[in-house]
């Protein structure tokens, strides 16, 4: 039985609002770098909300997932930036 305290639920709701605003930027963004900036912001906020969720459901494994997600999203951001730059890999 998962029991989440209201404080953690409020924090997660506020972070979801921030993610929603970034999603609007990803959909609207006039150029490709705009969309990538929105995706980068979404990645960071998802990492933070994973840490909060791991505390809320009392299992540390979510925080480990957040660490791995941080490094994977970093690598994907670097590769997309290299692709936009148009250089050789």
């Amino acid at each position: 039985m998962i029991q989440i305290e209201p404080v953690y639920l409020g924090v997660l709701g506020a972070l979801f609002l921030a993610i929603l605003m970034a999603i609007i930027r990803v959909i609207k963004g006039p150029t490709a770098p705009d969309r990538i900036v929105g995706l980068d912001t979404i990645n960071t906020i998802v990492i933070v909300s994973m840490v909060i969720f791991g505390l809320a459901v009392q299992s540390v494994i979510y925080i480990d997932v957040a660490i791995v997600y941080a490094f994977l999203s970093f690598i994907s951001t670097l590769f997309i930036a290299k692709y936009l730059e148009g250089g050789e890999f």
Partner: protein, 130 residues
């Protein structure tokens, strides 16, 4: 008594972190071009993440020191893993933002309302080699 002090600091950190993360979303919506959006979307989320994960670390420390029931089993593991997650964010976020800004400038996106662009005629490294 120190219990209550920890509680107030935790609530303050949570409110500050949420405020800066919402500010990042708002700046991402309202700023005019890529570079200012990068400024909002990266620095504000990094600063807010420091405070939110810091509050998680403080909750773990409080449960570790005072044996409070917020964290049921092994609060020390929670503290160390949250600290590693914070270090991961602090290492990767500014580096990714710098790479994105460089890529945006080299792919030809101009800053909005900019009067001069000092990097305009600067040759990139590959052109110098030729």
């Amino acid at each position: 008594m120190w219990d209550a002090v920890f509680d107030w600091i935790i609530y303050f950190f949570l409110i500050l972190g949420i405020f800066f993360n919402l500010l990042a979303g708002l700046g991402l919506l309202r700023f005019p071009d890529v570079y200012t959006r990068l400024h909002a979307g990266t620095k504000c989320t990094t600063f807010g993440s420091i405070f939110i994960i810091g509050s998680v670390i403080l909750i773990g420390l409080k449960a570790w020191i005072f044996n409070t029931p917020e964290v049921a089993n092994s609060p020390d593991v929670l503290v160390f893993h949250a600290a590693v997650a914070l270090v991961a964010i602090l290492l990767t976020n500014p580096t990714g933002a710098h790479a994105l800004a460089r890529a945006a400038h080299r792919s030809g996106v101009k800053p909005a309302k900019a009067v001069i662009d000092e990097l305009e005629n600067k040759p990139s490294k590959k052109e110098v080699k030729k």
